[in-house]
């Protein structure tokens, strides 16, 4: 029983990271209809910013998260405004290829700057945790989950309660109609992508505290973002939160299957994603549009 509870807790904590990785990806996909293959690279940029600030200036990694968010927002805004906006009306494969190209450039420039060494962010409280009898809850993971939930709440607030958020929702509903009522599409698209990138940056900061990062470590996060978003369903932040936590649980239980070790976790996750796509394409909580 304690094992089971520990697994659930570990799964939910890991799910926090997936929520953070997934929300930005889901926003960009759901609103802009762009599958951003450079999402993992954006995550890793965030990770390196946190690592740089922590190792050079000894700033607490959780305090660097706003820096990640702002820096990636600006980067994402410029990326969308300068490049991705140019192919919005092209067939969908083009956005795949363009963002993959961007991914290639980012990853290899990071390799040129930082080399391929593993970097990790280890504040004084890493490795410690709350002990409840046999169950251990690591502080870093717990805070990360809290940050991920707060990030999702902030994103939901921006989308539902601010002027630009309403504009973004209008684009998601009908791009041409949104343009007709005077929404500056180029700007709104760039802001949306910037918000997605900012979420990726925060996710990267969290990931740097939990595992060592390299420039090439981002690709799995792009793939996991797919699974999270598909599991939850496109179009709502809350759905992505559920998808992320569900993915964390699936992975935790997948890793615990006796005999298989940790190796099947990925296969199970992707198998589940394909199953959900085929049987329930709108996701567990999504709405069909």
């Amino acid at each position: 029983m304690a094992d089971f509870v520990q697994l659930v807790i570990l799964g939910l904590l890991a799910g926090g990271i997936y929520v953070a990785v997934g929300v930005g990806f889901g926003l960009v996909w759901g609103v802009l209809n762009i599958v951003n293959l450079s999402h993992g690279a954006l995550v890793i940029i965030g990770g390196y910013i946190t690592w740089q600030l922590f190792s050079a200036l000894h700033i607490d990694p959780f305090l660097t998260l706003p820096v990640d968010a702002v820096a990636l927002f600006v980067f994402g805004y410029l990326l969308q405004r300068g490049l991705i906006n140019r192919i919005i009306r092209a067939p969908l494969l083009f956005t795949f290829l363009l963002t993959f190209g961007v991914n290639l450039v980012i990853v290899n420039i990071l390799l040129l700057i930082f080399g391929s060494d593993f970097r990790s962010v280890t504040p004084s409280y890493s490795g410690q945790g709350i002990e409840l009898g046999p169950i251990v809850i690591p502080y870093v993971s717990l805070f990360s989950l809290a940050v991920a939930i707060a990030l999702s709440a902030a994103l939901a607030f921006i989308l539902n309660r601010t002027r630009i958020g309403l504009a973004i929702n209008a684009i998601a509903a009908d791009r041409d109609a949104a343009q007709l009522v005077g929404i500056d599409l180029r700007h709104a698209y760039a802001v949306t992508f910037g918000l997605g990138a900012a979420c990726a940056g925060v996710a990267g900061g969290l990931i740097a505290m939990i595992q060592a990062i390299t420039p090439t470590a981002g690709e799995p996060y792009t793939l996991q973002a797919f699974v999270v978003v598909i599991l939850g369903g496109l179009g709502r932040v809350s759905a992505t939160v559920v998808g992320g936590l569900a993915f964390g649980l699936v992975e935790a239980f997948g890793q615990s299957i006796p005999g298989s070790g940790s190796v099947f976790a990925n296969a199970i996750a992707f198998g589940l994603m394909v199953l959900v796509l085929v049987t329930r394409p709108q996701g567990l909580l999504g709405r069909l549009r």
């Binding site: 192919i87 795949f96 450039v105 290899n108 992707f270 994603m273 394409p281």
Partner: protein
């Protein structure tokens, strides 16, 4: 207008002639490495390294041409075709390494297994459209690779596990030459199949599906059967390339049989050359693969990239490749074959127009 058409026609003829000469050279040069040719004092025009590169190029010609059948002609953005390459590689690999079958008997099963798998997953997956199909096929590609590496039976990895699968070396004289011509033959088959498909009822059905699936169904095209058949056909060709790869390379594992970047490369090649055409993907494959090898510094002709140390070179090559990908996607969305095929000319107005067409 007539003068313009005539000049384009001239360009087209020149392009075909130059292309034919280059292809003939690439096909004939390796023969000069035969012992008989060497003893007859024929100058050596190609060495081992060239075989390796040329075989890789032919392999990508197969993959890009095969992808074109489902992605270009049918319009379904398959993003997991590397699964078929890997399945073909492991089918032949397992039969040769574990069941001790002769290679040439094991090879024909590679396309059969790959096509059967494609038909199996294609039935549910091809009901999805757009991004969803792309993502689901990517998921299948990743999941198959993971499964192949990790399936154990009684504690023993079934498919060689993380340490991969070693095949006995195929005993034949001039092995490099043999695999080069085998791969080229498959590439020729892939192109011939595309040519035949585009001139058949089947091909017209696929194009109808690409342009408007509902309308195609109304016209009496059995869309499900057509799509699955196109998917399986692409898988069979890709699997055949994989089967040859496994015996040629002698060693396969998850990294070289299921590399995710192949998914992107084969699509980029088809796009660079021109999707939906017969020769476009092949031309794109040759161009892009030569460029990748050139940037990586493995071609005999090589230049130093200024301000870049030898160690950083592969990384800088990747950056250049990424930038090129971005530029091609933004400025040449219809592929370079458009320029040689005779319908457009490379000019500022062409670039501006393609930008305007797709921009927000």
């Amino acid at each position: 207008m007539i003068a313009r058409a005539a000049s384009i026609d001239r360009w087209r003829r020149l392009f075909v002639i130059v292309g034919a000469i280059l292809v003939a050279y690439a096909l004939l040069a390796p023969i000069t490495s035969l012992d008989a040719a060497q003893s007859a004092n024929v100058p050596l025009l190609a060495d081992r390294l060239w075989f390796r590169i040329a075989t890789i190029i032919a392999m990508f010609v197969v993959m890009a041409t095969a992808w074109n059948i489902i992605g270009g002609i049918t319009g379904y953005a398959a993003f997991g075709n590397v699964a078929f390459f890997g399945i073909g590689a492991y089918t032949t690999g397992m039969l040769v390494a574990k069941a001790k079958w002769p290679f040439l008997v094991a090879l024909p099963l590679a396309p059969v297994v790959a096509a059967a798998f494609a038909a199996l997953v294609g039935l549910p997956l091809l009901r999805l459209r757009g991004h969803y199909f792309a993502v689901a096929s990517l998921g299948v590609g990743v999941a198959v690779g993971e499964l192949v590496q990790n399936i154990d039976y009684n504690g023993q990895p079934v498919f060689g596990g993380a340490s991969g699968l070693f095949l006995p070396i195929f005993a034949i004289d001039n092995r490099g030459l043999f695999f080069f011509y085998l791969m080229v033959a498959v590439a020729a088959v892939a192109i011939a199949v595309t040519w035949r498909v585009l001139r058949s009822r089947f091909g017209y059905g696929l194009i109808a599906i690409r342009e408007n699936e509902e309308a195609a169904a109304v016209l009496g095209v059995n869309t499900t059967a057509y799509k699955v058949a196109a998917f399986a056909l692409a898988a069979a060709l890709t699997g055949l390339a994989g089967g040859i790869f496994s015996q040629w390379n002698v060693f396969i594992n998850q990294d070289n049989a299921f590399p995710i970047e192949y998914n992107v490369q084969m699509i980029l090649m088809a796009l660079l050359g021109g999707t939906g055409t017969v020769f476009g993907p092949a031309a794109g494959a040759v161009l892009l693969q030569l460029l990748i090898q050139f940037l990586g510094g493995s071609l005999p002709i090589s230049v130093d990239i200024p301000f870049v140390s030898v160690d950083a070179r592969p990384i800088v090559a990747q950056v250049i490749l990424g930038v090129l990908l971005v530029v091609v996607v933004i400025f040449v969305p219809r592929g370079v074959i458009d320029f040689f095929g005779g319908s457009s000319r490379l000019s500022w107005s062409y670039l501006r127009q393609s930008l305007r067409e797709t921009s927000l």
